[in-house]
Subunit: 366 residues, 4 copies
């Protein structure tokens, strides 16, 4: 397959271009019997939707999802669930100007050489618009993981440009457009983004995602490790340049006597592993951090070339996020949910008969 | 599959436990006609082999590889290449003591809950010994990429514990046991590791890997992005906790006007992207960094529990690397080679007919 | 994945229930640059469409296909091609009567035990309506194979119930509703089907499909043999109970001195192999036959049980094909096209560099 | 992958050439805890082994299997099980004579064009010797299916050339070299094969395989149907040209009022479906028949061409089976076991929570 299907047992096959008729996906492998309707999915889509604050792109997309199959009388049937989102705000503008120019930091040049043809309208397939599909599919996984295992997946922004954002309270996250888990940080972030935008520039961000209540024993031991699949899923999000599990790059300077999480009957004494050892979940929270690059579409003039072999200067105007990381938290949550659900099913397949009751210790000392 | 096969078109199916009869793999999908003999593979295995300096484990494994199939009269035939490495230095010792204890920082606890049974001898399947298989398979990919496309894949250590190691010269790398690309740094590293070991502790490391001459256009645009597959492959290496492509986590604080690599007819003006945009190679060098955690097997006493539900104190003696990162460079190179070869074949499948000649600019301004 | 994706490199991911909002699929892996519009696909769909003669179901479905993605300015872009067919003729009838009864010869009983829930409307996912999706996807493969390699895929009915139908002329096939390749046989077939229908019964059929101009060398040598993948694809069509390649079951009583096709410089002297030896195409026509069972939905009373554990008698009235094989020819052609296209891409991946020019002999002696 | 891996969750990755150092496979996905030693596998290999009667090839291969991994203290651990069979009877003969000639009925011509290189020794990868690997892997599946679900998989020959062999008694099968289920037929078969061999010719065979006690609900509804995967697996066996499930090609002339199996509370009234409807098992016995072509290696002179473009006459002497179908029964059983085990695991993954207790009727009326 040409890279548009994610997962082994719980699969998402994505389609669609930014300015084509529609985007969507086929979700295959969802167990039968899950209560599901479009509102469950819409709720997650609305968290990612553009145009909700002045800090994100002003494109007006309702991102209304339609379930085309796989649900009967309000429950999943075990057959494929197709999700359809029509594109509505496709401005009829002239793309011929950028059709032959390779925008710096974008995939234009690489696409052109790979395919010999490319849909230049809004970035085509390379547009971050495709991440709506991930959020929609992730909503199904999130719901199933919650109902079947009590798993809760949450994320928040930990850094915006050079501004670090402390973790104070999960409840703060939905109250601000940055997904910051600290109410006091919000005014400064607002002012910061306004400054960036006025300087015709953009910045990156860092997002942290946590999954609580993941059972011990999910994941594979060599290649399809739980952390390897998470790294793959996160790095597949547009603009992501780095992934960490647990201590991440801080582990380089740690001593073994610090990093290795001690076990006590009251629980693990720390979680430097980020909930995964040897590729398999430990029962501790899965903790993941990702680095998101600054939006490449900026109004500052930059050098490039065109398809005819000329050097050009270009600047990008229009409706762009000053920081694509601002809307990335629901996407990262969705990707973690998709990976966990796939491994939940894989674990059931191979280890359904395994019964190891004791000692199962708490994920963290309480 | 239970996570022991890597790749879609160029696949490696790995098997073996640390102290079982053998480890090995089946490499499927290698194009016919490649000159290949065991010496090609042995050369890479010898770079990773234990017991070569006082800074690594003293286990004496010749790691002699045998090619069981897929080669006829010195050339690959297009059929599966099976590689076999017999385990020879399996000390007949008593494992009953650790068989029921979960070592902190190891996969013992997770394995026990996943499988309900585990091979405790030397870590069983979770042992870093499995990485010899990756190096062996990677040697085939490296050779093919070199001969077919002129691709050169090299790595070096950039940090050992808190010691940062500058890049000075590729030629320095094979001259020291740390794979440091700076001759002057070596004495300090030697002293540092001796200190760590005497303190009964261990440290992490950071490795950088670079692939030169990768053609523009390899990779997929959404899920199986080249960088996503690289992240997956790297995170699947034992002890890796973080992966970066190009600027990595530094991208968070960068401005868009800095990060996006400008294009000129003389070449790209920078490589913050690390050779990948939109999941597809740009023709620039692929640049990857990984974080490796400190060895969990240390002689410092640590708290844990056993399978009977008792709290215990344990310390690990025996033949262990004070820093597993020291031997990780050839492994990381191998994983990059395996991913690139898979995507080379995928690209040929879909885009064999694409002919886009100009303008193809140099990977970097010279 | 839960069995709704076909292929490795050229994949079709299918979705939809007979009486849900829509059916459709995502076709991934189509090379860029193919001229494609909805009319190309519609032409094949119209060949399979219900309601076109009195010998098939009278359900009125226009089966109008919409291309949602992957095509830009009339050409494929290399990204996923999503196809959507809305269901329009869903009679609002009462399904509660059959919802709890297991129809003999149908998948009702098996679905009910597998999923614990099932969509009873028109057979749900088990309906032959899903085969429209295969025909739509197959149209893309057919077109690419034709343009790129000159491959022509055609089928015809060779038996209807006990009536054997000789092969006389390919041109006769589109002229009659049975896809018979013999004009003289048609009146008898018409009378035969009328008789079957009046007796409230149904019959099976046998279909033969041939692909001409398939290059030598496609297929894999052990498991994913070209003939194995064809057998899989054909047996996956609703109601198919048998598959033959070349001589098929006649090979049992053949002598080796007859069966093995001799090679001469003028071409192969026979084609008992059906175009495949050792799993790999020989350059001869690929010849496949399939057996299709009689429609299980008949008006003759039959014994069954219901979900409450009662024995019942049931008869099925409504719009059903007296022989599902009558519309099966375009489906079988589509499945052969899908398998061939997948193997075309696989072959390019691994063997793109192989150049073996002589002696390449004609597929058959002319 | 290049076609050497079978299965999705329970996978077999096969390697090896007829006259190379070894053949073998990696079996991945076996649940932990299964009692397994080499003798379990050897017992099945001995059923297929050459040289056991005058009716099969006289090649003397002990086919001794070694388990290299995945078993600890007599039980599977959930990690990959590697199986190794060294080739011992590789006659050092001169292959240069046939190295450039394409034997009729063999894969020589197709391989040569596909790969541009081929291992001519004993057929290389195309040799039926590879089927020993399938039998070895199948032995693990058979054992697990038996212990976990009580599934019994048995096969017998139903036709040898034009001689039909009635089914009388399963107990007769191991008592004769033909796997005939009828003691009285054996003398005639012996005489028949002697005649064929003396005439320097060969014949085909027909094999039937049955799996009893397969639970209702295994399989997928659209592409990876249980019967589609069985067709794939069977057609992947060397020399197989046809596959039937249940009534097979007889279904063509059946009426719907006969073919559709009625359900009663005492059980299904017939099994024309062969245990599968809509791609999913019904709880009835799975019944499969396959057609095996006559051995192409015969001593009768036949026409062919060589790689230099000359027409030649060739005859094959040496150690060949007069009917490759004679040893095919254990292979067909193994393939059915491998498919069933894969689907057992797939079913657990998706439908582990489904609980549908009544009415579950017997597979057949007793």
């Amino acid at each position: 397959m040409a890279g548009n299907t994610l997962g082994l047992l719980f699969t998402v096959t994505s389609f669609g271009e930014s300015h084509g008729p529609a985007i969507g996906c086929v979700v295959d492998g969802c167990p039968p019997g899950l209560l599901l309707d479009a509102a469950d999915i819409q709720a997650e889509l609305d968290r990612r939707k553009p145009g909700t604050s002045r800090f994100v792109t002003q494109r007006r997309e309702p991102d209304a999802v339609e379930i085309l199959s796989g649900v009967y009388e309000g429950r999943t049937t075990g057959t494929p669930i197709a999700l359809l989102i029509r594109n509505t705000d496709q401005r009829s503008r002239d793309y011929s100007k950028i059709a032959d120019v390779f925008r710096p930091g974008h995939a234009d040049y690489a696409y052109w050489h790979k395919y010999g043809v490319r849909d230049p309208r809004g970035g085509g397939r390379a547009s971050a618009r495709e991440t709506a599909v991930r959020v929609a599919a992730g909503a199904i996984a999130k719901k199933w993981l919650k109902e079947r295992y009590g798993i809760v997946i949450r994320g928040h922004m930990t850094q915006l440009g050079e501004k670090r954002i402390p973790f104070t309270d999960w409840d703060a996250v939905p109250e601000n457009p940055f997904f910051a888990a600290d109410r006091d940080a919000v005014p400064e972030l607002e002012a910061y983004v306004d400054t960036i935008r006025k300087s015709l520039d953009s910045v990156g961000a860092r997002i942290r995602v946590v999954a609580d209540n993941v059972p011990v024993g999910w994941g594979e031991p060599v290649y399809d490790r739980l952390d390897a699949d998470i790294a793959y899923a996160m790095m597949s999000i547009n603009a992501v340049k780095g992934v960490e599990i647990g201590a991440g790059f801080d582990a380089v300077a740690q001593r073994g006597s610090v990093h290795g999480d001690e076990l006590t009957l009251a629980g693990f004494a720390s979680n430097h592993a980020g909930g995964v050892t040897g590729g398999i979940s430990t029962g501790q929270p899965i903790e993941v951090s990702i680095a998101i690059k600054p939006t490449p579409s900026i109004a500052t003039p930059r050098r490039s070339i065109d398809a005819a072999g000329n050097e050009v200067t270009m600047e990008t105007h229009g409706r762009h996020d000053p920081c694509v990381g601002i809307r990335a938290t629901p996407i990262a949550e969705a990707m973690l949910a998709l990976v966990l659900m796939d491994h939940a099913l894989r674990h059931r397949a191979q280890c359904a008969d395994v019964r190891v009751e004791t000692p199962r210790i708490p994920g963290r000392i309480r």
